[in-house]
Symmetry: C2
Subunit: 311 residues, 2 copies
């Protein structure tokens, strides 16, 4: 059941910069991805925090071509490739595998609610069969608070039986530790990523492989350090430190708050832009965010250094 | 505020036949659409019951090309053209308007939950501005039980102020009559379709323009008769009759039950197929459906005649 070439560590659902016409600013995005890799954080591009579902399949494929074309290591990439339409998921997944990505993160189709496990199984199975490539590594994306379509344990079990190795792991963004724990216990040695760093230490101690976290966009080094030294006596302290920033950020709408942070510390207000239906922080929220972030100076050297800015 | 060239009457979110490889069976679909038009029912193709969100934008555009190319009247079509991605919605909407459709049915972007009215306004406004065609008629698709993203009255008001005429109406699939009533009262003369025929009479009496209903796929003539004769003394009786079939159908998962019905009365088992993540009825459900449908023989002459089949 253990995936071959299993991915692990800390990955960031990379936020997507947009130009004034809401088209993705690809060169700015590549620079951000490059910086994250320099912080030892992998690239879960086209995640929820990337506004990926606000991008067409073509836009995402063009971006991935550009990212790999710029020389970044595809083995460190786990793009989101799922859509509501089976045909779209097949197309984007086949494209990503061809580029040599380490894995893909797959949402269930999320328009219809209350769908059966049988229907979800067929959907994932069709993608796997149609892509038909042994290099495919699927990480199931369980995020019921947003998708409203959970990926239950019974479905995972069936997929692992049918496609061992291919179904390589999961990102558990349920926000429910008991669910992550149940996955760790049910599928030992499997690629379980927690959906944020708040439970990274617990996840590693339980046999998980890392985390894929929104706040890795702004706090990559410290989260990676915790991952890297999870067995050290300092791990609990490090966990407490990354938690403090995470918990502060959770007081704001996450995606615009991440963008505001990067805009401010990177000295580039263009980063504040979101594609509809998401909107930027209000002036008041932004003020309160930036004031509060001052006490987390430790988290920002990477971003600040990148832009040559000092706050 | 009243839309020019306003659509009205009964429309069917036409179910989509699939071949064994899950590709849409376009010629079968066109025949079904032609039959619905012969029953005085318009074509809300690519609705929820059409499994439209399981189709890619390209598949939907190809199908619409074929439908118009086959000589069916585009003025009687209200295709669903919205996706989660702004760019996809613009592309599909512009394409439909170019083909001369009577209107388009637009879901809000439905991946992110709890989005702001401002974000939804920007999304619809961007589509309208980018399509940039005076012929565009948008019917907002309010279906919170599935999309989980409602279209509140305040948003409608703002859209109507900014784009009078273009924002031509709504399909209210909330299943909540008090919401439909509030729309009728807030926007007199506007194009309010109820989301099913159960409240068609109430909707017409309140100033609405018709209904867009799943069960119009199998009971088009009777629902159209009720629409056509809503002011007659027989209207209450007709309402009761269409309700009986609707309420019976609601005891089953709607989309596979519609397909099973058409498969049986049309003598074509291929109609039973759904694209994942949806699944066909179980053998037991199908048996119970077909047994129960016998008492609704009145509803089936169209379908039966079409296939030359007798049950």
């Amino acid at each position: 059941m253990t995936g071959r070439n299993q991915m692990g560590g800390v990955l960031s659902p990379v936020i997507t910069p947009f130009k004034a016409d809401y088209s993705p600013d690809i060169s700015k995005w590549i620079a951000q991805c490059r910086w994250l890799l320099s912080q030892n954080v992998g690239l879960a591009v086209f995640g929820t925090n990337s506004e990926a579902n606000s991008l067409s399949v073509e836009e995402r494929m063009d971006m991935l071509d550009a990212l790999v074309g710029a020389g970044l290591d595809p083995a460190r990439m786990m793009p989101g490739t799922a859509s509501c339409a089976l045909t779209d998921s097949v197309r984007a997944t086949a494209h990503a595998v061809k580029l040599g990505v380490g894995g893909v993160l797959m949402l269930p189709p999320f328009y219809y609610k209350g769908v059966t496990d049988e229907g979800l199984f067929r959907c994932f199975a069709e993608v796997i069969e149609r892509v038909g490539d042994d290099r495919l590594r699927i990480y199931l994306y369980h995020i019921p608070p947003v998708s409203q379509v959970p990926i239950p344990l019974g479905l995972i079990e069936r997929l692992l039986k049918a496609y061992p190795g291919i179904v390589a792991g999961v990102k558990d963004s349920s926000g429910d530790w008991s669910n992550t724990k149940a996955m760790l216990e049910a599928f030992p040695g499997w690629g379980v990523f927690s959906g944020n760093e708040l439970v990274l230490l617990k996840n590693m101690r339980g046999g998980g492989v890392g985390c894929i976290s929104a706040t890795a966009n702004i706090n990559p080094a410290a989260i990676h350090r915790l991952y890297d030294q999870w067995e050290s006596p300092e791990a609990e302290r490090m966990q407490g430190e990354v938690n403090a920033l995470r918990e502060f950020m959770q007081g704001f709408p996450m995606i615009p708050a991440l963008k505001s942070t990067v805009a401010h510390y990177g000295g580039d207000p263009e980063w504040n832009r979101l594609r509809p239906p998401l909107v930027e922080l209000s002036g008041e929220e932004q003020k309160s965010l930036l004031e509060g972030l001052r006490r987390f100076d430790f988290a920002m050297p990477g971003l600040a250094a990148k832009a040559g800015a000092a706050d």
